[in-house]
């Protein structure tokens, strides 16, 4: 099976009510006027016109001036009365995503929704930093809505830096209250299967605590250790996953209503100057369904010049199957829990590929608003026959 996914993530709109690029009514004695070409380009012609060597560029000449127009981001900070830094972030992101297999849920409908389901996810967060003490805490709320899924999330984090600011401890707690719409395979709707009797939607809650320690060892080496504890409750099966038993009967998968997961990981980043960066990552995972997994990842970023970089990567992954897994037609009738979801079987996988990133100073294709393009290609092979080629395109438009 070959599958090509194309993901386009882009057009992020940063909205901030207090900001404006339109001025108010004019009350000064000066009038707006259309500038002449040499005035529009005053910066680049400033010294050149006088035949003087450009002081700014250390005498290298004015053509070396950095273009400002596509690189300026300003970040807002506020300080409260106790001199603590406060950062407010509000964001509305709109995604468009594509998936090929969700069309199989009901082959009779022409499913326009599933190849272009819109995701809308407003979020709001607040954080406060005490720079003197090196501490920060924050809270956030988010909501996410999809075709078959609605989620509300709450999170809180605390951070403490060591005295020399080289080490940082971070603890983050998150709770997600999700409602999953139960969409059954077409042949099981209205059947006698007790698990398919459930209609409408079901709750699924996740609680997690993430602890991390990051340490700057020296200018070149950074390390981080990560431990997560995740508890999930509620409806954890996917109602549209079919299970065929030994006799060929079909049911929907049924899994326990609680799952406890523990990933433990470490990261190491090594910088050879600013041209070459190596990022590596290892993670061990286990849960109380009997799944154990190892992940190892290495990624490099090679900066060829200021606006062109390459990033090859490789990821290895292996996992054992969950206690409730049996392949197609191997489940016996009468087991309490059962699944044939290949994602829960034993397998190993390799994922490798490379990305290129372009951000020319004059904008892409001569269009100044279009300032970054990132194209990634990955080839994914999994021992239980799944193969995929993944191309993702990331654009930044201003």
């Amino acid at each position: 099976m070959k599958k090509i996914c194309l993901t386009v993530i882009g057009l992020y709109l940063g909205l901030l009510a207090a900001f404006s690029q339109q001025g108010p009514a004019n009350d000064s004695s000066y009038r707006s006027r259309k500038l002449k070409i040499d005035e529009i380009n005053l910066v680049s012609s400033y010294y050149h016109q006088d035949g003087e060597r450009a002081a700014v560029t250390g005498g290298i000449g004015s053509q070396k001036l950095t273009d400002i127009s596509n690189t300026l981001d300003i970040k807002l900070i506020r300080y409260d009365r106790k001199d603590r830094k406060q950062v407010w972030t509000g964001e509305v992101g709109i995604d468009n995503y594509t998936s090929a297999s969700s069309d199989k849920i009901d082959p009779k409908t022409i499913s326009s929704a599933s190849y272009a389901d819109n995701r809308v996810y407003p979020s709001f967060s607040f954080s406060r930093e005490n720079e003197k003490k090196g501490t920060e805490f924050g809270v956030g709320v988010s909501a996410s809505s999809e075709y078959d899924y609605f989620s509300i999330g709450l999170n809180a984090h605390v951070t403490k830096k060591t005295k020399d600011r080289m080490g940082e401890f971070n603890a983050k707690g998150q709770a997600y209250m999700d409602r999953v719409s139960l969409i059954y395979p077409v042949e099981l709707r209205g059947s006698e299967d007790p698990n398919a009797q459930k209609r409408g939607s079901a709750a699924r809650n996740s609680y997690s605590v993430a602890l991390s320690w990051s340490q700057i060892v020296n200018q070149r080496l950074q390390l981080a250790f990560l431990l997560d504890l995740v508890q999930q409750d509620g409806f954890l099966s996917l109602p549209f996953n079919r299970v065929y038993t030994e006799g060929g009967a079909v049911q929907v998968e049924h899994l326990p209503s609680s799952r406890f997961k523990v990933p433990i990981g470490a990261r190491a980043n090594y910088f050879f100057g600013d041209k070459l960066i190596i990022r590596s990552y290892y993670r061990y995972y286990f849960d109380d369904w009997g799944l154990k997994a190892h992940t190892a990842n290495i990624e490099t970023a090679i900066k060829l010049n200021n606006f062109f970089s390459l990033s090859p990567f490789y990821r290895y992954y292996r996992q054992t199957e969950v206690d409730y897994y049996k392949p197609y037609r191997e489940h016996k009738v009468g087991s309490e829990f059962f699944t044939s979801n290949p994602d829960l079987s034993a397998f190993n996988s390799h994922f490798y590929g490379a990305g290129i990133r372009l951000s020319p100073p004059g904008g892409l294709f001569g269009w100044q608003h279009f300032n970054m393009l990132e194209l990634r290609y990955g080839h994914y092979t999994r021992s239980n026959t799944l193969q995929a080629n993944i191309v993702s395109l990331h654009l930044r438009y201003k």
């Binding site: 404006s20 005035e39 005053l42 807002l76 300080y79």
Partner: protein, 318 residues
């Protein structure tokens, strides 16, 4: 302002010297192999700024600038190429800003009305106008061939308060870059210029002061090879009838400027950033933004009296 001359290591390869130059605090930071090398390099920048101070000061009656002022209404004065070109560039900014920037701003007649924090009322329209009668960049006559500057009216004066710090920052940067310094910042009391990246490879992070709490930034930008200048009325202002007036006088009307708390200009050239900040404040939010929006490689952030923030179109707020 009392400021001692201090030298400190900020990072293993980053050194900073802070001292008073041109009547202002200068902080010069450079990336260098070690302390001794940094001291030697920064000394080059300091002597360059002292040289410029000598040329531009109006506190020393023998400075070239003051010789031009002495001869106002009498005769053209032969100046060196450096001063001639600086005035020539400044004249282009005056044309661009419809006279909101004017080198002869110092010709203001302080006998009629003087900005003072104890003021209770503004002068009438005619007095205000009379006060600024000598401010006119049209009357600064440059002779390319003779290399002279002539101030047409008696009593006229030119000064470099609105452009000199930026010019000094650019010049210090040029001297340092010529000496092989690949990254650093020259900060002339808020008119600053950056080049290269921080030793850790990241661009320089520049905070923009909050007009309501000047010691703290309200926002910051990450820049390299870019200059920033801020002009604001939050340090010197008067309140009359509940309205806040800046110490900046509109050279057209003679009245103090009102409505804007601060203007920050970002541009690759410190001299231009410095010279543009005050005129944008004088011209007002609408006209000022419209001007900057038409220009390439120049950006601005304006904070008004209501603490509302306006930015030019090439800025993204995140």
């Amino acid at each position: 302002m009392q400021l001692t001359d201090t030298f400190q290591a900020i990072d293993r390869n980053l050194f900073r010297r802070s001292l008073k130059l041109m009547g202002n605090r200068f902080d010069i930071s450079v990336e260098a192999r070690n302390r001794a090398v940094a001291e030697e390099l920064i000394e080059l920048a300091v002597s360059e700024i002292r040289r410029i101070e000598k040329l531009l000061t109006t506190f020393d009656e023998n400075s070239l600038t003051n010789q031009v002022n002495e001869m106002a209404g009498i005769a053209p004065v032969i100046v060196n190429e450096e001063l001639f070109q600086l005035v020539q560039r400044a004249q282009r900014i005056s044309v661009l800003t419809q006279g909101a920037f004017d080198l002869s701003y110092g010709s203001i007649d302080k006998r009629l009305w003087n900005f003072d924090t104890s003021l209770k009322e503004l002068p009438d329209r005619d007095t205000a106008k009379e006060m600024v009668r000598l401010i006119s960049y049209h009357n600064i006559i440059l002779d390319d061939v003779a290399g002279t500057i002539f101030l047409k009216e008696k009593g006229m004066r030119i000064g470099f308060g609105g452009i000199g710090k930026g010019y000094a920052a650019d010049s210090a940067k040029r001297v340092l870059a010529d000496a092989g310094v690949t990254s650093g910042i020259v900060n002339a009391s808020g008119d600053l210029t950056t080049w290269g990246n921080q030793p850790n490879g990241n661009p320089w992070t520049i905070g923009i002061a909050d007009p309501d709490s000047a010691g703290n930034p309200f926002s910051y930008i990450n820049i390299t090879d870019m200059s920033v200048a801020t002009s604001g009325n939050y340090e010197k202002f008067i309140t009359i009838g509940g309205k806040r007036y800046s110490h900046t006088i509109d050279p057209r009307t003679g009245y103090p400027v009102t409505g804007i708390k601060s203007v920050t200009i970002i541009s690759p050239i410190a001299e231009l950033a410095d010279a543009m900040a005050t005129p944008v404040m004088v011209m007002g939010i609408k006209v000022g933004l419209d001007l900057i929006n038409q220009m390439n490689q120049m950006a601005c952030i304006i904070i008004d009296e209501q603490q509302k923030v306006y930015t030019s179109k090439n800025i993204t707020v995140i």
